[in-house]
Symmetry: D2
Subunit: 308 residues, 4 copies
């Protein structure tokens, strides 16, 4: 089964930044080490949580090489190839491959206004650009397009896609994707990107999760995954409940943008936990204010008691 | 606990229509009898699946009186009070109460463009219009507004709302609502309206489900609910998988409207199963064509084997 | 030409309310008298600006009878028949006809999820419900559906529709509608609902305007229309520029709902001008606060100098 | 007045492609020559119509250098700097400046989810990246964000923005932008991107138009502009009516994507007119089929009679 390596907990790694906005490679290495030591099954560099849209090509290369080196083969490294359309995404995929990625993650085209036939050709071209497995990243809130289950499973059956990261928030669509994938012989690794419904999604057949919050609490997600693997759904749900309470950190920054509230909360919590030396966000996003950071710290302390 | 009566499987009952478009009360009675005999825990009349938007006040009254009579007190009867804003919704609620409803279900205002403070006053006014428990119906695809968890739980704590029917498709929002409700002492009965993720939603704490597909296979949902109540999540998931395969009936009517595809599929399947004498839809919706009906029948036969 | 009567300036009349929320018929009569005396070419009762969604059937009847009596045949009275679907809208249309309406204005179905074939049948059924001319009201922000130009012109050619009130904000679509209507022999009276682009829309061929702001400054719109009719586009534009500055009143209520900001601003300005005794909004909408009312008054004073 | 150079008709130049998908520089030169000889007031390279999202950096450089050389200083050359966020957009702007651009055109961030404060910093950073004037490109259908008038005018007053290309389709917003710009002393050149409402937009004060259709009929837009400049609004409207009939070419490709239907129609019409040797679109967009091309040719022949 080609998808075997890409299951379980695969956090989208944050990109620690220096005060000047450059990639803090030392901290990035330690973040990766923390994730692996806590038991994650893979890491996803250059995702939305990794602030990929804000990094130039040179910075992106630094991130991938740093993560690959730090992981040292212990788990697979997925890398986002985020750009407007096929030719540019293919170039990004080749750069990621040269830097040591184990798999590529790509969305439908950005900015362009394409139909499903064009999107299918897009994924076929991106897959052909490297030897690596390709994951489709379904995130309509950023890309506008919802990828339909039948397209995804057909591309899986044809060997174009190795998996899907679903961040669509469409629970009916996710269940239909899982079911269609099973009916087709499981060509795809189907991963949910939603942090707080992992127990239910694993119950209905998801192959894993790509939780931004996994940067903050990788051990919690590892325990949730293990409970689910053991069929202990009550324990899975209890772990998920605790994690869901922790996830409230992303709703603390009232009146700020989605990226500031979400990634900013993850970085702020990691700073509070001593995992990173500061919560600098990529320009033009400013860090969260002190009052918000204090609310986030209180939530972390209340929901990750083992760390207090 | 005031919400005890409103949990488990509560299908939104279809409204059988004669060829002339009038309410077929004889068939409606038999549909209700079938639901109750198959073990549902309540019925919801005049929901979207009941084509409430297409019925005039007199027809609505007939539906409620027929359902109440047929149920004969064996399970609670929830009734939709669907109209544009507070005054009109309150009138509809009072009519439903006079006709014997056990609870009212209302959405945020339609057509009007209101903010959350106005929506809160709206629900308070509707609740005050009758003595009955009030459920908020969260269905942005029809109403445009997503009801936030904190508003719902506050209205629950204040005794305004007895529960929520969530048809928003926002899985993160649903988990947050369940968690906030638990934290507040469970003032609300939190019901999911999504047919194919019931196992996962029950696992994470939903109090029940309002499945349109429950008109077609009430017994399946009853078994799913019982398995979940027993903590047998593997069996719950197996039942859900079968039901999810049955749900594919709503995707068969290519190129038709949402109401034609969805409610039309339920009626077509019920006709195939001999539960109703015809699949007439309310004007201006035409019934599904023969080829679509044949595909739906094949799906029913393949996924409800006990009936063959 | 059947559309002759329905052109020029046709304001959607506000519904003055007493402090108790009932229709203030005395003030409504004087508002209508003011509009007619300032030179409007028609009035539109029970539109969005008339808070139609908030009024029950009895209140709606009072509004129509009051407006019809006050107008006394001097200009045509259009009346909104706003409800969820065909049967209910047809009932509302018949009530309006009995109360003396000269034309009916109806939207696509609300709440229901219909396709274009269903919407076409809907308009045909509503048109058949009375002898009166029917206008389609295209307002996607409230109804979700955008009515396509080819459907509208076909219904015009078939004698189903007498006109269109376009509040879609889709300027390309509006130009295409005007052009298709001209090509079909002008079966439709095409009216724009946007207050601040009337000069440009009249230049490109609109037959008139339905401006909520016309409640505040009917004379200004009458002058704009007359300048356009005379082909004096420079004067039309100057009048429009002044009116556009006045329209800033709707952007003063920061953080309030669309209905509060818009209709609330019209009522507040009319109160300031002494046209109505108070700016009460329909429940659950609260009036604008004093600071907002002061800003609105200042804008009125600065842009309607003749009244100071 | 710093904006003087950027007014009138400024078409977004298509990018002719060889059968292999490379930039056809010979044809691009002749397209530019045709535009300038027909009287346009500027050209905009690397816009949406120029398929910018589909071109890699090397191809983009070729386009800019070719256009700059072909224009030879006769009119200004605006160049799109389209990428995800500030750092990447600044890099694209610097490359465009080195290749000879006279002005930069940039959108709000793509893929990123930013608030208005972040978008404001974004535009300030992009402006600071080169010495060139910067235009904000407001195109929510591709970028999701609607740029508010007060932000744009403030950035104009601060010398950050030299102008705005409005492709938002929000006619009320456009009028408010024009009015706010006038009130601020006209710091911005306000250009509409909508091909069929140019007469009305010029009447209400637009400084120019960026029409994709201007690739097909630059002379028509030049005549429309001259009529408007002369205050001959009847003639402007007649020219616009003819152009609007020509614009129907973009609605011929039923069931194809927005980019295929729009840019594909422009290229197909230009091929029919002998302006380009083929209508190849950038991968993954396929050219329009023969039946669609025939319908487009017929519309061109019917509405550009001088060319027949």
């Amino acid at each position: 089964m080609t998808t075997t390596r890409f299951r379980g907990v695969i956090p989208p790694v944050i990109t620690p930044l220096t005060a000047e906005g450059e990639v803090d490679t030392t901290t990035l290495r330690s973040v990766v080490e923390h994730l692996v030591s806590e038991g994650v099954d893979g890491v996803f560099a250059l995702g939305s949580t990794g602030e990929v849209a804000y990094l130039d090509d040179a910075q992106r290369d630094v991130v991938v090489r740093t993560v690959v080196t730090a992981v040292a083969g212990r788990v697979p490294v997925l890398v986002g190839a985020i750009d407007t359309t096929s030719g540019r995404v293919a170039q990004a995929a080749r750069r990621a491959a040269e830097a040591g990625a184990d798999a590529i993650v790509a969305t439908a085209p950005l900015y362009a206004i394409n139909d499903l036939a064009e999107i299918e050709r897009h994924f076929r071209a991106v897959a052909a650009a490297t030897e690596l497995p390709l994951f489709a990243y379904d995130i309509p809130v950023r890309v506008r397009t919802k990828l339909p289950a039948d397209l995804l499973v057909r591309l899986g059956t044809d060997g174009v896609l190795a998996g899907v990261k679903d961040s669509s928030g469409d629970d009916v669509g996710f269940r239909r994707l899982v079911a269609a994938n099973v009916a087709a012989g499981r060509p795809l690794a189907v991963l949910t990107g939603h942090e707080v419904v992992v127990d239910g999604m694993l119950l209905l057949g998801a192959d894993g999760v790509v939780p931004g919050l996994g940067n903050v609490d990788p051990g919690g997600y590892a325990r949730l995954w293990q409970a689910a693997q053991a069929g202990d759904w009550t324990r899975a749900r209890e772990e998920q409940d605790r994690i869901a309470a922790l996830f409230e950190i992303v709703f603390q920054a009232q009146g700020r943008s989605g990226d500031a509230s979400g990634v900013g909360a993850f970085k702020t919590a990691m700073h509070h936990l001593g995992l990173i030396p500061g919560a600098t966000m990529a320009f033009p996003v400013e860090p969260l204010d002190d009052a918000t950071a204090a609310r986030i710290a209180a939530i972390v302390d209340a929901t990750m008691p083992a760390r207090v």
